[in-house]
């Protein structure tokens, strides 16, 4: 167990280090940081002094080390375009993305699981069949198209909901929230549903498959034989055992939500981190790109590490053959 933990931690560290190297390479090879910081009339001597002060003349390993030191405390320098520290930009945008992601994750869990349970219990019902068909379409359609269809339907034809921006936000300390105003909540509905749809269909199908499997096991039959009520069997016995793999998957899906948030934010002009990143790519704003790259890797590595360790605790067999859950 202990050696597995060490191995896994080391591996995560190596991943982060290689991502950091890529981010650092971006700084080295894309654009000239000096040119991005000073005006045209700066003399060569001044430029040289600035390069010296920024440590751009240091040997390569030292520069990389300094970069990591900065990255570890969230310091990626100034954005080339906005001329403010990247950490500040990200801190401004983070609440929008987090609110959107968390709300849609909640939506997908609290709608997806009941739908999955229902389709498993009433397999042949009309409603189950329509859920399954709709979910197939939901999986096949690209997220941005679903978003556009929603905008067209609810924004253009019906004119019920706003289709871009966050509406009015309230500032609470460093956090700007849209959840406290009516227009903020209305603006959140379409993007949150769009983002939730894919996860929802996935969770629903997963719960259904797991549940169907559990329902055929002996202890369920035995519970029925004991004369337990149908609801007690389905929810007290079957669902409980279904949820273990489901929770793991939901954990892993959190990363996917972040990835799809980039798309949803672009469709709905949602001022979050994803849109910041897309704009940074378009404008080759290297510090922002590097920061986002690092941030998203940290999130993913942390989620995977947590899930793997959780797995190892739940299923000790996994640690014997070198700790790979894929074997």
């Amino acid at each position: 167990m202990f050696s597995f933990l060490i191995k896994r931690l080391l591996q995560s560290f190596m991943v982060l280090l290689s991502v950091a190297f890529i981010a650092f390479a971006l700084f080295k090879f894309v654009g000239d940081p000096i040119n991005n910081m000073v005006g045209q009339d700066t003399t060569l001597v001044e430029r040289e002094a600035l390069a010296e002060r920024l440590g751009l003349n240091d040997p390569f390993p030292i520069q990389f080390f300094n970069f990591i030191k900065g990255a570890a405390v969230g310091d990626f320098g100034l954005s080339y375009r906005h001329k403010v520290p990247v950490s500040q930009l990200i801190a401004e945008r983070a609440p929008a993305t987090l609110e959107l992601s968390i709300i849609s994750a909640l939506l997908s869990v609290f709608i997806g699981i009941p739908m999955g349970v229902y389709t498993a219990i009433r397999r042949k019902g009309f409603l189950s069949r329509s859920f399954m068909t709709v979910s197939l379409v939901g999986i096949s359609l690209p997220t941005f198209l679903i978003g556009i269809l929603f905008i067209f339907l609810f924004g253009v034809i019906l004119r019920w909901l706003p289709t871009f921006g966050r509406g009015e936000v309230v500032q609470i300390g460093f956090w700007s929230t849209g959840l406290l105003t009516w227009s903020g909540i209305k603006s959140l509905i379409l993007p949150a549903v769009t983002l939730a749809l894919f996860q929802m269909t996935l969770i629903m199908r997963l719960v259904r498959t797991e549940m169907l499997e559990v329902l055929t096991t002996d202890y369920i039959k035995f519970a029925r034989a004991r004369g337990l009520k149908e609801n007690a069997v389905n929810f007290g016995h079957a669902l409980k055992n279904t949820l273990i793999p489901v929770i793991t998957i939901i954990g892993l899906q959190l990363g996917l939500v972040m990835a799809f948030a980039i798309i949803t934010e672009t469709v709905f002009q949602w001022p979050g981190m994803g849109m910041l990143f897309i704009q940074a790519i378009e404008e080759v704003d290297v510090p922002v790109m590097a920061a986002y790259l690092m941030m998203i890797s940290v999130v993913f590595v942390a989620i995977n590490l947590a899930v793997d360790i959780l797995y190892a605790f739940v299923d000790p067999r996994l640690t014997i053959d070198g700790g790979s859950k894929h074997g």
């Binding site: 892993l252 972040m258 799809f260 790519i281 790259l293 790979s324």
Partner: protein, 312 residues
């Protein structure tokens, strides 16, 4: 010559008598999805000849024709533009055909490169084993823990960063193909590796080793042909994913440029006009994308089930 013709002929006959063809002729879903897919691919491939207008020929564009709705939906439409025109007076239907061509090309190229990279690495990992195996599979594990679309987006972003800005539009298609194919090789590698590890303990491999064949020859000439079967299914399903990834990147504005639009770019362009009520500019390319991707996806699903011996 005659011999090889005979051989291919008998293979064809074998196929027609086989289970797969039998299943195919009795599954309406398979027939419909296959035909839809074939028509889509044909129209995309033949865009130059099928499209009524050449959208790249600036001389044919007239501003008078801009933003025309489809003639059957609105009296302002003109009959020669039966799906309407976009903001520059380009025919939407022709745009879709040319756009689909680029989408399908990027998709197919990415699938082929992914498959070649994945199969080579899978073969190497499975046959060599040991350190090489664990290194390749570790990289695969790591990559698999990130969603493919995010990987493609990051590679695309990094590549665009590394290239000089003037070259972005020219090289966009290659950057896209590179990003999408790198994001997709893992599936192939894992499948091939698994099969290779089974095959390499079989007798014909032992026999090859005994008569002193170099392992390179055994791996490529003897094992490889025996493990390629699942490739078709993975490839078909991957094609749908690759097309969606391309469309998404182009929609996000980091893929094909508006001068050489793919379906995703067309949807992006149209999206800006959606709120002012010009729905045809974005909805028709979107519909085309859905039809293309759904038909490929459904056919791929059917193929997977049909070739799965467990479901027989």
């Amino acid at each position: 010559m005659v011999d090889s013709e005979m051989k291919s002929n008998s293979k064809w006959v074998q196929f027609l008598k086989g289970d797969l063809w039998y299943d195919f002729t009795r599954s309406p879903v398979a027939i419909v999805s296959f035909l839809t897919m074939a028509v889509c691919l044909f129209l995309a491939a033949a865009a130059q000849w099928v499209a009524p207008f050449d959208i790249f020929d600036l001389a044919t564009l007239e501003l008078m024709d801009a933003d025309l709705p489809p003639p059957w939906a609105d009296e302002y439409g003109e009959d020669k533009f039966f799906l309407g025109t976009d903001d520059q007076g380009r025919d939407i239907w022709s745009g879709i055909l040319y756009g689909a061509q680029i989408s399908v090309f990027v998709g197919l190229a990415s699938v082929i490169i992914s498959a070649v990279v994945g199969v080579s690495l899978g073969l190497l990992a499975g046959y060599a084993g040991g350190r090489i195996d664990s290194f390749i599979m570790r990289v695969a594990d790591i990559q698999l823990s990130f969603p493919a679309i995010l990987i493609a987006l990051l590679i695309d972003g990094v590549m665009r960063g590394l290239l000089p800005r003037e070259l972005h539009d020219e090289l966009a298609i290659y950057v896209l193909i590179f990003a999408i194919s790198i994001s997709g090789w893992v599936q192939y590698a894992r499948t091939i590796r698994g099969s290779v590890m089974v095959e390499k303990h079989k007798e014909y491999v032992q026999a090859g080793l005994v008569i002193g064949l170099p392992s390179r020859i055994i791996a490529v000439k003897h094992i490889l042909p025996n493990v390629l079967n699942p490739l078709f299914v993975i490839g078909t399903i991957h094609l749908a994913t690759a097309i969606i990834t391309e469309a998404t990147l182009s929609f996000l504005g980091v893929g094909m440029s508006p001068t050489t639009p793919s379906l995703g770019t067309l949807i992006r362009i149209g999206n800006e006009y959606l709120l002012s009520g010009e729905w045809w500019i974005t909805l028709f390319p979107g519909l085309a994308l859905v039809v293309l991707v759904l038909s490929v996806n459904i056919f791929g699903d059917w193929l997977r089930d049909a070739l799965n011996p467990k479901l027989r």
